[in-house]
Amino acid sequence: MLKANGDIRIGVYVCHCGTNIAAVVDVKALAAYSATLPNVVVSREYKYLCSDPGQDMIKQDILDLKLNRVVVASCSPHLHEQTFRNALASGDLNPFFLQMVNIREQDSWVTTDKPAATQKAQDLVRAAARRVAFNESLERGRIPINPAVMVVGGGIAGIHAALTLANAGKKVYLVEREPTIGGHMAQFDKTFPTLDCAACILTPKMSSVKNHKNITLWTYSEVTRVDGYVGNYKVKVKRLPRYVQEDLCSGCLECLKSCVFKEAKVPDEFNMGLAKRKPIYIPFPQAVPLVPVIDPETCIQFKSGKCKKTCIEACGDRHAINLQMLETTEEVEVGNIILATGFKAFDAKRTPDYGYGLYPNVYTALEVERLVNASGPTGGEVVLRDGRTPQTVGIVHCVGSRDENTNRWCSRVCCMYSLKLAHLIKEHTGAEVFNFYIDMRTPGKGFEEFYQKLLNERVHFVRGRVAEVTDWAMDPSEENKLVIRVEDTLAGLVRRIPVDMVVLSTGLEPQADAEQVRRMFNITCASGGFFLERHPKLAPVSTFTDGVFLAGCCQGPKDIPDTVAQAGAAAAEALALIDAGFVLTEPNAAYVLEEVCSGCKTCVPMCPFSAVEFLLEEKKARVNPAMCKGCGTCVAACPSGSIHQHLFEDQQIFEEIEGILTNA
Amino acid sequence: MDNRRITIEPITRLEGHGKIEIFLDGQGVVERAYFQVPELRGFEKFAQGRPAEDMPQITSRICGVCPTAHHMASTKALDALYQVTPPPAARKIRELIYSTFFVEDHALHFYFLGGPDFVVGPQAPAAERNVLGVIAKVGIETGQKVIAMRRRLRELMVLAGGKAAHPVFGLPGGVAKPLTAEDAARFREVASEAVEFAQFTLGIFEKVVLQNSDYVDLILSDAYTHRTYYMGMVDEKNQVNFYNGMLRVVAPDGKEWAKFKPDQYLDYIGEHTEPWTYMKFCYLKGIGWKGFSEGADSGVYCVAPLARLNAAEGMATPQAHEAYLKYHATLGGRPVHHTLANHWARVVEMLYAAERMQELANDPELIDPDVRTLPTAVPREGVGVVEAPRGTLFHHYKTDERGIITSANLIVATQNNAARIAMGVEKAAKKLITGGQVPEGLLNMVEMAFRAYDPCLGCATHALPGSMPLMVQVRDPRGAPLAVLRRDSDGSIHRE
């Protein structure tokens, strides 16, 4: 039990904050009252305590009056606690001998009843004066930072973050689940609003990742376990066998040609199943690494063992193809982790009214991206599944966005990519294009201008949420067409618009395994399932777990510029930690009184950060100060009172309670 | 008129200090003597809301001297509450622990508490009338023998019951843990010592008490004789049983007046309250409460060793039965109405308990690992009754369907005796106080009148090393003391 040992000399300082406090709380009375409290040596009120003269006053009192405790009654500690701790330090007093009393945000600003406000302030100061007597001198520990960084996800976010760090001379491990990096961006044809070709801007970055000496690229790989804490993470990565050895393969692709499958029969993931691939394949021509993958699900050798293995012949003395390849595990130590795990496109089948999967001529936006792409399945020709070229096309916005039945959020990019697709379809086919939107959202550089451009191109815009897409013709004009039923909220009537092709602008969702991933990395998901940033404005790429940062759509839907910007920010945050060389431990960490701990283990599962370890030798618990975030949950749980928390000792809180309730 | 009062307090504590108030009439003749119990704790009330399964441990705190009795009665009440029958091994472990407890408790009373009255002698200086005096009389090695015996018995109770004071083994449908072969061996060893010890004790009683005609006269004297009903638990052969059986009541003439299942107790036993004491007085409903009076017309009855031997027709073990026959032969046959005979009856019971210990310790079934029948029935109501060392003990619970106590009725052993104790005190006072003269002897005599019952009114307890200073004040109606008699702990008597 800690003691208010020695002679306690408290200085109480009441801030007017101009009139913010003084207009409601009788600061003179408060200061006078404070002077009457036990152990209070001096009590002053001042116009702006946070000003330099205000801080100097405190500093001087500490030196002249030998104060060893300070109570500041002013604004919220969230605002100026650090300011006043520094003031104490400047007076050679340990900064943690400070206790702040919030008489502005939580008193003068929330009531007009002056006597009540003053009374409240007195109670709180009394409590603080009792508490501060039991405050302790504390030092914050330093944890060194391992300069290596892991980037999880090889989309544009991961790629940009990895390159930024690597270019700054930091070791980077880039882990991608798919056989190639590139992510969704690699599937896009053009990018809005500038309409420059996605591949053209992406692929150079992909190859520089491949060739960067500071980047270790692991594709076809997944993180399976994360231990440790900021500066000192241990990460396990599972590497799936692609049956072609990266170090031996030259990327000549002879094996693909020589595969016993003369015709590609397997639906091609990269082309959204609109094209076919062979059992041995590369996702797309610019794939990085340019190393084929064998898909054991469809490879005859794996299924029956009765293949001529022409691929192995073709590879010849390179012997790059190794059908005995096994899953391997890498373990690396890094100081920071950047999560850039991206998003999942909304599954259009979840909105059955729009007929996706029912009517062959209903497409998703991503499929159309491939259709309009020169290197796509149709070589850039927009032809329907029945071979026709569409004369009329309807683009339905907000599929799986802004929808109570699916996802409530706006996916941010759909309006713009719909406009882009409208433009491209018109360009490729000259078809009449209808956009069906709820609101047109074009907040971005050049976005609104792009919208105007489309209007000039005579693209039709119908405001209204589409009710259904049907092939049920009500008059001859609708024969062999898909009819889009919608309430035109501008015209104020329900319309039936027959089209040849329907494009569903599907929204962005968290990855299916976002929940497992968040647990593995000890971070939080916001409602909706995207990863939660530490602060929406002031710490948008940080998480509540130090040394774990977010980039791209795993944090929420965003377009490429924002994604890249965020990736850069995440890299910068990591660099800041790395270059500082260390992080400070929490001052309010928990600690175990080992001599009296009975080893009941109640505390161990309390800690979400695995900071409480059970020492098998001593049969006692121990808190790792580097991992402890200082929540104090284990302290409240410890049945024998053998875990304490700096800054929030039981004794200090009991004193505060007593102070509040005992009218001195 | 000159209404004078004599106050004796504290007497041996019965839930707080027992207190005796004696009122004399104008002629200085005892008009009325009151035996007050001035403490109450209210277990019946705060049992409410507790889970039934906690009762064996909570109610054992009624009495730290006979916690095992409360624990056992409570556990049996839980069996009834959940309608479960414990496996044979569990039932035997319970009775084994219970018999062990009986030997220990009876020994404690005989040597440490009541015994000194006789072993050392009523006329001996009070300072010697305690366990040390007993040791002096019977020899130091005997004294150590007594202490060692008690320790070994308590060790066994810890071994099988978790704790000796406030045991934890009782659960509805069984006991908390089985006994191992080693445990059983330990019990066998100590059980045979216990039998030998009980015989030895009986020997002491015969040598020191029965061979002294003064003592025998004292036991038979009218001052300590009440012709009341007697109740005790008997097995199917009407032999004494502490753990289980039917309750049998015999009339003052020794004939069976009633025999009933424990759960019918409410049909037979009533509780009478007097506003001047916290203790309730039990009586036989069939006869009714007729005040503090003896005879067949009064509902007053008696429990504990004397009563058990009266209510039964024999003991279930050979050596004890032999002792039982000799006891009745010597005291003029059943029923024995002499309160002080309790001391002898107690030793006979000690022998029975020891023999029973031996029987159970030798039972191969004792170490069967199956000691629990898990309850399945919805609990409603349950009665559990055992013979505690100081008499019949009733626990009666009602619960809700979750097994939470909604009402608890507890009749503790000495409560059954309360009326007879009060009568004993008044009779002794009347016999000994005449013409306002208060002879020194009064003090010891009154003391013995209730100590013979070894009264343990739910945590009432005993006088340890038996020197008990008493004071009698004789006051005038205005409360001014006319005479004060004091016997100090050194036994010396002063008149002030």
Binding site: M1, S598, G599, C600, K601, T602, K619, A636, P639, S640, G641, S642, F654 | N3, R5, P10, I11, T12, G16, E21, F23, Y34, P38, L40, R41, G42, K45, F46, Q48, G49, P51, E53, I58, R61, I62, C63, G64, Y82, L132, I147, R154, K163, A164, V168, F169, P172, K177, T273, E274, P275, W276, Y278, L374, C459, H462, L464, S467, M468, P469, D488
Partner: protein, 312 residues
């Protein structure tokens, strides 16, 4: 001249006296080492014998039992005056003990339950001309420390011979521990429990069991078996008698020196092993702990922060 000691009991069961007798052979040594000047269970001095003694003439008074009526209060104050050291002996004196459960009700409630036939004891009663008195029966049971200044505490229900022996050793020794010390180890019971190692490092439960609902394994941690064992929050010293008897600890040794309200901490610790984030499921799990007051405050209600149920 041997140091004078006194024993006294208030609202208690006599188990503490038995515990002293359980010193067995050692009791003779004690009898030789000290001069017992007051012990109602043993030597029935009248109150005024004590009154006659000079203040502080008794070296140590060992008082067991809670304070439940006016007699006990009077005697406790008297002994305090006469003694240099007062030792609260046993959990009733230390924390209130089982008699303290009466604080869930009050005098009125208890009378109504115990004296159903309408007649109830009266403090002063005239029985055809004879005036008889009884001590005042309080609504609230309190622990000894609440009514007099207590120097040391011996925990347990009852204290074990080992604890008593050690305590006597300390008190008869030369250097006395600081005032207010509980004369027992200051760690939780798990330290002494033979089952300690069998508790999983991350024990989380979806279900609690009541003792009658399960046949407990004799080796495994009882809490790990779903039984509400209070060992983790209870002071060591008894050497885990109840767990050795295959029953959960019920907390009779009270809290460690670092805990102010035994029940609150025990409650917090037990709730901490619940493995659910869903309120309805948590409620279902808690139904297996139907009596928190009786479970967590079985021995310490009077000394707890709340002390008693709100008076009706």
């Amino acid at each position: 001249m041997k140091p004078k000691v006194a024993f006294y009991w208030c609202a208690s069961c006599g188990g503490c006296e038995e515990a002293v007798v359980d010193l067995d052979e050692k009791i003779l040594d004690v009898a030789n080492a000290v001069d017992i000047v007051f012990w109602p269970v043993a030597l029935d001095f009248k109150e005024h014998n004590v009154e006659a003694m000079p203040d502080g003439s008794i070296l140590a008074s060992f008082i067991n039992g809670a304070i439940r009526n006016s007699d006990q209060l009077k005697m406790a104050k008297l002994l305090r005056a006469k003694s240099q050291v007062v030792v609260a002996f046993g959990v009733c004196a230390q924390l209130g003990g089982i008699p303290g459960l009466a604080n869930l009700s009050d005098a009125k409630g208890i009378y109504a339950e115990v004296y159903k036939d309408g007649v109830a004891p009266e403090r002063l009663h005239q029985d055809n001309g004879h005036s008889l008195s009884l001590p005042e029966f309080y609504d609230t049971v309190v622990e000894l420390g609440r009514v007099i200044d207590v120097d040391y505490y011996v925990p347990g229900c009852p204290p074990t011979p080992k604890i008593i022996g050690a305590a006597l050793g300390v008190l008869l020794g030369s250097d006395l521990p600081p005032k207010g010390t509980v004369l027992a180890p200051d760690q939780a019971l798990c330290e002494e429990c033979p089952r300690k190692d069998t508790r999983p490092e991350k024990l989380l439960l979806k279900e609690f069991k009541r003792v009658h609902q399960v046949v407990a394994d004799q080796q495994t941690c009882l809490l790990a078996q779903g039984l509400a064992c209070l060992g983790p929050g209870t002071r060591a010293g008894c050497e885990a008698m109840c767990p050795r008897g295959n029953m959960p600890c019920t907390g009779c040794f009270g809290p460690t020196s670092r805990v102010r309200d035994y029940g609150a901490k025990a409650l917090s610790a037990l709730a901490s092993v619940i493995d659910s984030d869903d309120e309805a499921e948590i409620a279902r799990i808690l139904d297996a702990l139907p009596d928190p007051a009786g479970l967590f405050y079985r021995y310490s209600l009077p000394s707890s922060f709340l002390g008693r149920r709100r008076m009706e």
